[in-house]
Symmetry: C3
Subunit: 148 residues, 3 copies
C-alpha cells in the first residue's frame, strides 16, 4: 500500500500531441506525488516501496447519455472518463488523507488541464481506507527501501 488503480476509457490512450492523455505520464507523476507526501512530523506518509499505480483502459464502455448531449453541443459525441481509486491502509489522520487527496487532485487537474478544454471528459478521484479482514505481503521490493 498505497495502491492507486486507474480505470479509464481507451479513447484516452496515446500521447498528448496525438490527442491522448499520456496515461503513463499520469502514473509516473501520481507515484511521485504520493512519494512526496509528508505528515505532521515530516515523515513520509507512504513507504516508498509500497507505492503502486496500475492503469487499465476498458475494452467496452458507456458514458452518460452515450454522446447525444456532446453532439448537440459541438458535433462530436465522444466522452472520456478516468476513475482513480487510491486504497490506503487504515490508521492515517483525516488531515493527512485530505492533504494527500488535494495533492493528487492538483496533480490530476494539471495533467488534464488542456484535455478538459478540448474534450468532454470526467475525472474522479476517490480515496478508500481498506477494511480488509486479512492482509499478507511477500516482497523483494520493500527491502530495497529498508531504513538502515
Amino acid at each position: 500500500m498505497p495502491h492507486l488503480t486507474i480505470l479509464y476509457t481507451p479513447n484516452l490512450d496515446g500521447a498528448i500531441e496525438d490527442g491522448g492523455a499520456d496515461i503513463q505520464a499520469l502514473c509516473n507523476t501520481l507515484a511521485e506525488t504520493m512519494a512526496a507526501q509528508r505528515d505532521e512530523a515530516l515523515a513520509a506518509v507512504f513507504p516508498i516501496g509500497g507505492i503502486r499505480v496500475l492503469a487499465y483502459p476498458a475494452s467496452h464502455y458507456a458514458i452518460a447519455d452515450g454522446g447525444a448531449a456532446g453532439r448537440a453541443a459541438d458535433g462530436t459525441g465522444e466522452y472520456a472518463f478516468v476513475y482513480l481509486n487510491l486504497r490506503v491502509a487504515r490508521g492515517r489522520s483525516a488531515a493527512v488523507l485530505e492533504r494527500t487527496g488535494r495533492a493528487l487532485d492538483a496533480c490530476i487537474k494539471r495533467h488534464f488541464e488542456g484535455i478538459l478544454t478540448e474534450r468532454h471528459i470526467g475525472v474522479t478521484l476517490q480515496i478508500d481506507e481498506g477494511d480488509e479482514v486479512f492482509n499478507a505481503r511477500t516482497s523483494s521490493l520493500h527491502p530495497l527501501f529498508a531504513r538502515d
Copy 2:
C-alpha cells in the same frame, strides 16, 4: 458516480450470433437503465453526466472446478463469468437502491437469457455504497447536463 465496473471472462467477447455476449450492448443497456431510474419524487436517481460503465475481459481466469463438472454434464468444460459492481455515492434510500438493483438485474437477465440456456455461465451483480474518505471531481462532462 454511479460507476459500474464489469469484470468478465474473455470467452464472452464477440457478438451474440458468434456465440459471444455482446458486452458493448450490455454496457449500453445498463447505462440507459441507470439513466431511467426515478426516486419517490420522480427525480432522476443518478445525474446523467455521472453514469459510467466500464467493462474488462480478464487475461487469465479460473472458474469453479476448472471445467470437470461441465464436461461431465455435456461434453464442454468452458465456464463463463460476469461480475458487475455498481458503486454509488452514499445517501440514497434503501428502497431506491433495491429498485435500482432489480431494474439492473432484470436488464441483465434479459441480456443473458439465451446464453444461460446454451453455456455454463455465472452472472453476479452487486451494489456498493462508497465509503470513500476523499472525493474530488474534475469534469467537462457534467456541464453538458447542467440544469438551466
Copy 3:
C-alpha cells in the same frame, strides 16, 4: 462468491522458464486452494460453483521510485507487482477467514518463490468482506454443483 481479482504488472506475463510468472497457473492453484478450504464442521468454506479468479495485467504502471533503488542495487530497475483481492460474502468466522488467508498466502509464496530471489517484486493479498447493499445472481453454473 468468492471472487479473487488479481491486478499485476504486465512484465510478469509469460511462462516461468521465460522469466514470467505464469499467472494462469497461479489462477488455477488459487482456485483449487479455495475449493479445498474446510470450516470447523469440515464443510466447504466456499461453494465450488462460486469460485472465480480473474487476472488483469495493467496497461500502464508506476511502482515505488520508478526503478532508481533497483538500478542502484543490481543494475536493473524493473519492478513487478501483484495485488490479489479476495472478496467474500459476509458471515464466515474470523478463524475461517484467517485460515483461508494463510492457505492462499502459502500458495502465493510457493508460486513466487523462485521469482522473489531473481526480481524485485511485491505481492500483496487482501481479503475483503463485501458490504454490498444489493446482490443478485443469475447462473447456469451453480446448478452443475447442486447437491443431490
